[in-house]
């Protein structure tokens, strides 16, 4: 059976390189025919992947072309790196880059740590009903769409909304303000609303890992007189190191792809300067202004940088984790 799974290397099958090409092809056809029923289950998937994944990857070539609505993918003339050259001198693109990095950095700095702290806090609860309630409630916002949450945020921050009411009652402000119209606060709104939505959800994986920590570690530490904080620091956190670094790698690789739904629903004419991110810029250039080649070039550039980030984050984490690869 194993023989069937061998894939030709450089056109030669290392297992039976003596057999001529024609015979191997014949064997393949015979096997394939015998397996036709099970193969018929896979064929639709292969066709799907070719159409919906590989054709769009081929479609990336329009980043190097000058595509207009009258063209087809192949008839558009090649322009080499012209689109990329324009990007580099595009002020709006760089604004979007700054916003994307700013928001992503805040999300990374705060939003990455909070689920870890939260999961430790939940883990330290002795169990019972309160633990269940906290978990159930903290997961809930994850299931709200950004459109729903955006609508909620607009209602909370409106001049007669809850947010102003609380601030007025606490005497922090004397007159209602709508901070969604304040461009300088947008980064914080984007970050904190994202944390509100996802922090609880982020604890699930951590909690699952923590439940596998050997309880005798804690017993031994208790006998040695270690305080609870000390136990967390010296037992819980070291045990979570691999999963934390894996999460960090995935987060870093997604730095440039911050949430399009969130931006589309929270962005308005007042806060646009601080709210436009790369993804929404691609959307605006491509879908509303019809500059397909340019938008594709921006998207391609971002994907390439993301892959580079992923690889370098993985390298760094390998160094930190004594060369044990987490990816």
């Amino acid at each position: 059976m194993d023989k069937l799974a061998v894939v030709p290397v450089n056109g030669k099958n290392p297992m039976n390189s003596k057999k001529p090409m024609g015979q191997r092809f014949k064997e393949f056809v015979i096997d394939y025919k015998r397996q036709w029923e099970i193969q018929s289950m896979i064929i639709p998937g292969i066709i799907f992947m070719i159409i919906f994944c590989f054709i769009p990857i081929y479609g990336l070539t329009i980043a190097f072309k000058s595509y207009t609505v009258i063209d087809t993918l192949d008839s558009a003339p090649w322009v080499g790196l012209d689109n990329f050259r324009i990007i580099l001198s595009d002020k709006y693109f760089w604004d979007a880059v700054v916003n994307t990095l700013g928001i992503s950095f805040l999300k990374l700095a705060i939003g990455f740590v909070i689920p870890i702290i939260l999961s430790v806090m939940i883990y330290e609860l002795s169990g019972g009903r309160f633990k269940k309630i906290v978990q159930t409630i903290s997961y809930l916002p994850h299931f709200l769409s950004w459109i729903v949450l955006g609508g909620m945020l607009i209602a909370w921050f409106s001049s007669s909304g809850m947010f102003n009411e609380i601030l007025l009652n606490l005497g922090i402000i004397s007159k209602p303000v709508n901070i969604l119209l304040d461009a300088n606060k947008y980064w914080w709104i984007a970050t904190l609303s994202d944390i509100w939505k996802e922090a609880g959800w982020g604890t699930i994986l951590y909690l699952a890992i923590m439940s596998k920590i050997d309880p005798t570690y804690y017993e031994a530490a208790k006998i040695d007189g270690a305080s609870r904080m000390r136990q967390i620091w010296n037992i819980t956190l070291p045990n979570m190191k691999p999963i934390i670094s894996l999460n960090l790698i995935l987060t870093v690789s997604g730095l440039l792809g911050s949430n399009l739904d969130q931006t589309l629903v929270l962005m308005n004419s007042q806060n646009r300067v601080k709210a436009e991110v790369i993804n929404s810029y691609v959307y605006r250039m491509g879908m509303t202004q019809g500059d397909f080649s340019y938008a594709t070039a921006v998207g391609l550039g971002v994907s390439i940088v993301s892959v580079i980030l992923l690889i370098s984050a993985n390298k760094v984490s390998n160094k930190l984790n004594d060369n044990q690869s987490v990816l």
């Binding site: 992947m49 769009p56 309160f130 699952a208 594709t296």
Partner: protein
């Protein structure tokens, strides 16, 4: 000895108290805003304009919901949401299970190539514009099927199902083969019933995704009749935002009416998820774990 125990006890008690207080604060931060939306949606336009309430409505009224239910387009959007979620989930799960079953057999010809293709789809994509051009050339723009067909396949889900199918004992398949059953029959009659837990997990995740999805509509649909609830809500939000900005200090009545409708639509859009949540919760933790375990 006694002193250490007492000290540890005190330390633990302080720790527990602070921990519980902090977690209570976290819970309040999540619950109060959500509750505020619900009670705001149950308030009259006048009360909404005046504001001044957080926990309890000042002027209870169902007028916002009446306005929403009187709007036929929202009713239609609700139907579109249900249809696309229902059809989308069933076709997605079946499609992924079928491919996952095929790929779970190690002996099939070309398996390495298929797996390699699948892995590529996980890491690379053409992005927004090339995908848009593809959808356009397939004639899926402004078609209900754009919700279903591009969402049929996800290699992540295929991997999860494939791993699940592998754990089913081979002897079941062998004995069915001896009885003369073909692969399709074995898949449909044996493997699908046995894999219900895994398929339910994927169905629930996919269902939430379908229900919440709004980019598909935003990108590919301009025909209002095909708008799902999320898109309808987005329109109401954008509309009220522009109005709010045009009427700074102007007529507040229009703003509050749309605000009330907006809040009621938010609640209606979220309701199915909240109703499904207890069922969801049983499955999603195991789903997270299955998703984390890669081949």
């Amino acid at each position: 000895m006694n002193r250490t125990v007492a000290k540890e006890d005190l330390d633990s008690r302080i720790f527990n108290t602070i921990n519980i207080i902090l977690l209570c604060i976290c819970t309040v931060i999540i619950v109060v805003p959500l509750w505020n939306v619900v009670i705001s949606s149950l308030s009259s336009g006048k009360a909404l304009a005046e504001g001044g309430f957080i926990f309890w409505s000042k002027d209870f009224s169902l007028e916002n919901y009446r306005a929403v239910f009187n709007d036929e387009t929202i009713g239609l959007a609700f139907l579109v949401s249900i249809a696309k979620t229902f059809i989308g989930v069933i076709t997605h799960v079946f499609f992924c299970a079928m491919i996952g079953y095929g790929l779970s057999k190690k002996y099939i010809r070309g398996r390495k190539l298929y797996v390699a293709m699948g892995v590529i789809t996980m890491f690379f994509s053409g992005g927004m514009i090339p995908t848009y051009l593809l959808i356009k050339s397939l004639g899926l723009l402004n078609s209900f099927w754009v919700y279903i067909i591009p969402a049929l396949f996800s290699y992540y889900d295929v991997v999860i199902l494939m791993n699940f199918f592998r754990n089913v004992p081979d002897s079941l398949e062998e004995s069915a083969k001896i009885d003369g059953a073909g692969d399709w029959r074995i898949f449909l009659k044996i493997f699908i019933p046995l894999s219900m837990p895994a398929m339910a997990t994927i169905a629930l995740f996919n269902g939430v995704g379908q229900w919440n999805d709004f980019m598909t509509t935003k990108l590919y649909i301009t025909d209002q009749a095909l708008y799902p609830l999320q898109m309808k809500l987005y329109e109401i939000i954008v509309q009220s935002q522009t109005q709010a900005m045009q009427n700074v200090g102007g007529s507040a009545i229009i703003e509050t009416t749309t605000k009330g409708v907006q809040l009621a639509t938010i609640v209606i859009t979220t309701l199915p998820i909240v109703v499904m949540y207890p069922i969801l919760q049983r499955y999603f933790i195991s789903g997270m774990m299955m998703g984390a375990v890669k081949e």
